[in-house]
Structures are given as structure tokens and as C-alpha cells.
Symmetry: none
Subunit: 125 residues, 4 copies
């Protein structure tokens, strides 16, 4: 039987945190970098300033960012923590990929073969 589940549309503040983490993992954002001001980001992504504030507050609670009154919000400089975030994201990505592939009926051998093939394909052109 068919079962459809919708993106329960992840709350915006969590989406913001995810994006910050991705930017970190990709090196687009670095330790110590200043984040856009709350107002600025709110305008950029057309979201209520309170939503941005909530995202920043949560990041602070996880020691991912630090807010300095009158100066702004900054990415932590704790490289260890950032490295952990990156590793965790990568593992999550791999695991969910493998699970999905298995759900589609691929065995581990096939998965490995396909990944090898496609990473070469995406390499040359």
C-alpha cells in the first residue's frame, strides 16, 4: 500500500542552523567568522527577526556560536568542535544514503560499484 509522508517542513530556525553547519563543513564559513546580523539575515531570507534570533540562540547553546553585545554573532573558534560537526554530518549523509539504497533493493556490492562508477563519471566532464 502506498504511504506518502510530507516534508513536515522543518522549522525555519532549524533550517538556518543546518545551513550554517553545511557552510562550515564546506569551508564556506570558518572558525571565528562573523555571521550576518540578525536583522540583516532576516531581511536577506525574508524571515521574521525573531526566527533568526532563535536560531542564533540555539547555536550559542550548542557552543557553535558566541554573541558579543554590540558586535554581533561569531562562529566558535573551537576547531575540535567544528571538526566534529563535519564528521557527524558526513556520517549521517553516508548512512542515510546507504539505507535508502538498500530500501531500493541494492545490495552493498552494487552500492559500492555504483558509487565508484559515478564518482569517476562526475570527475571528468
Amino acid at each position: 500500500m502506498l504511504k506518502v509522508q510530507f516534508d513536515p517542513a522543518k522549522p525555519i530556525y532549524l533550517q538556518i542552523i543546518s545551513e550554517v553547519k553545511k557552510a562550515l563543513a564546506r569551508g564556506e564559513l570558518n572558525p571565528g567568522d562573523k555571521l550576518p546580523s540578525q536583522r540583516e539575515l532576516a531581511k536577506m531570507i525574508k524571515v521574521n527577526a525573531n526566527t533568526v534570533q532563535r536560531a542564533y540562540r540555539e547555536m550559542e547553546m550548542k557552543d557553535l556560536a558566541r554573541t558579543v553585545r554590540g558586535q554581533g554573532t561569531f562562529i566558535t573558534s573551537d576547531e575540535q568542535l567544528l571538526s566534529n560537526i563535519r564528521s557527524k554530518m558526513i556520517l549521517e549523509l553516508v548512512d542515510s544514503f546507504v539505507l535508502e539504497m538498500v530500501a531500493l533493493g541494492c545490495d552493498h556490492e552494487t552500492i559500492n560499484k555504483l558509487v565508484k562508477e559515478r564518482s569517476l563519471k562526475n570527475d571528468e566532464p
Copy 2:
């Protein structure tokens, strides 16, 4: 600089089509199977019947399904087409995975290694 893009929230009717395709790829839905009636699925997933109808109509236009007035909507029996859908889904999944991993700074060797590791991990426990 940080750039946040929200899920442009894939339209519901496309999500429905995706779910049907996934169900097919996983063998939860088979050639010739009857889909839930428009009203039934609409109630199940709390969506307007018109939205379900649009999904079904698009599937019909792609020959993925066939609608019979007064009877319902049925998955095509064209096994060739269904097999193509599965292959395409798998390749897309692999490619987007590889791309994301590369964006996260992993080289192809690392990707292969991690996939091998995690598919074993997921195997035993």
C-alpha cells in the same frame, strides 16, 4: 558568506508522484496495482482531492499510470518503463550523494571507503 535557501517545499503533487515512484522502486507497489482513489488518498494524507488528481493526471501523462473512469487509477503494466524508473532513481540518488560529499570536502577515495565501512556497520548490528 552564508546563503540560506529554504526548501522551496517541493509541490505536494510532485511529492505524491515521488512517493509512488519510490514505492514502485521498492516493490511495495507493483505493475497493474490500483492506487487509492483520489478522495481516499486525499483524506489519508490530508490534502485536497484536486491536488491528488493533479498528481495522478501527471502520472498518466508520463504513462506511469492509467485512469479508468468510475474505476480508479492503476499503475502501468509496462514493466520496461517501471524498470527504467527504478534505474533512474538509483542513479540520481548516487549522483546527488557523491556531489554533496564532494561539497563537504571528501575526495572519491574517502567516499568509497566510508560507503564500504558504513554499509558493513549497517549490516551486522
Copy 3:
């Protein structure tokens, strides 16, 4: 026995498509031309905008038109396709005419004779 079938009143969205095709066949509409906006046409012909949208969407799926977000819907520039549409319309018209004439008890000779006669009549006065 008498059997009456009502015009199943061809759906409006199909009538719109037919009219566009006729306009093309007659050269009143040309490759690349912009169609009226959905809302505009809707107002012109006193029909809901959704109905017009459906017509335009179907034309797009048949490659008869191309829609650009924020700009409008345009007739394809594929002259080959447009030429095919015209030929197909003409043949359909001729065939349905011949069939109807035969149903009315005319043989092919009579049909030819009448067509010749009437096309001359319509020519002079």
C-alpha cells in the same frame, strides 16, 4: 430507434487549446507569439484563471507553448511542429466531413460533385 447524445460539451480548457490551434492554422497566431496572460484571457472569455492555466499547461506539455515565469506563455517557435498541427487539423476536418456525408447517404461521387459546386458558389457572390 432514436438516440440522442448531447454535446458532452467539450471541456473549456480543451476548447481553448482548439482555438489556439485554429488561430495558428489560420496564421492569426504565429511561432513565438505571446499568448494573453492567464488572468487576461480569463477575464476576456469570462472563465476562471485556473481553467486557462490548465489549457496553457497542457499546451506546454505537448510542446505547443512554452511558459516563462513572470513573463508569460509563448507559442513554440518550432515551425515543424506547427506545420504538423495544421496538416493534422485539415485531415481531421476532411475525414469527419466525409464520414458524416456518407452517414447521410451520399456516395463519394456525390460528395465530390457537391464540394466542387459549393466552393464555386462561395467564390463568386
Copy 4:
């Protein structure tokens, strides 16, 4: 510019008369034949009995039919009149066909050629 005109959905009683005339022209209905009773036809085509009555009344006024109390409504036996009806229908059909073909850009020669071709095609298979 595009102009769409809708079928103004010919009134049902006129559709009934047209169908009777067509049936006559095709020989499916003959001089003197009994038409279905008003009630019967109303049920058959799911239409209000008054609508059928109006159609029958108009046919009577044109001497196309004759109603006998307690017996029913009968097609006239006036063969002359029936023959006229048939001729008129045929001429109308030919004329509207020729006009439409001209609108589609066909000249008279082309029309004649196509009619000849297609009436042969429809003959053999």
C-alpha cells in the same frame, strides 16, 4: 490576437430536433415512424419531460411530426418534406466545411483534391 468563442451550448430541445433530423437523413428513422413517448425519451436522455414536449411541439409546428392523442407522436409521411430536410442538411454541411477549409488557408483545388483522396482512403480499410 486570439479569440475564443464557446459553444453557447445549443438548447436541449433544439438538440433533440437536430438529432431527429439527422436520424431521418440517415434513414435510421422513416416516414410515419412512431417517436418514443415524451416520458420515455425524457427518461432515456435524462431530461425534463417539458423539454421533450417543447421539441415535439416545435416539430409539429414545422409539420415534421404529428401527435395523436392517446397514441403518440409520429414522423410525417410527407416524403417531399423529408427529402427537403435531407437536402438542406447536406448543403449546410458542405458549405460550412468549405468555409472552414478556406479559413485554414486551403484553396478550392486543394479542397477538392483532399476530399477525393480521403474518401478513397476511408473506402478500402
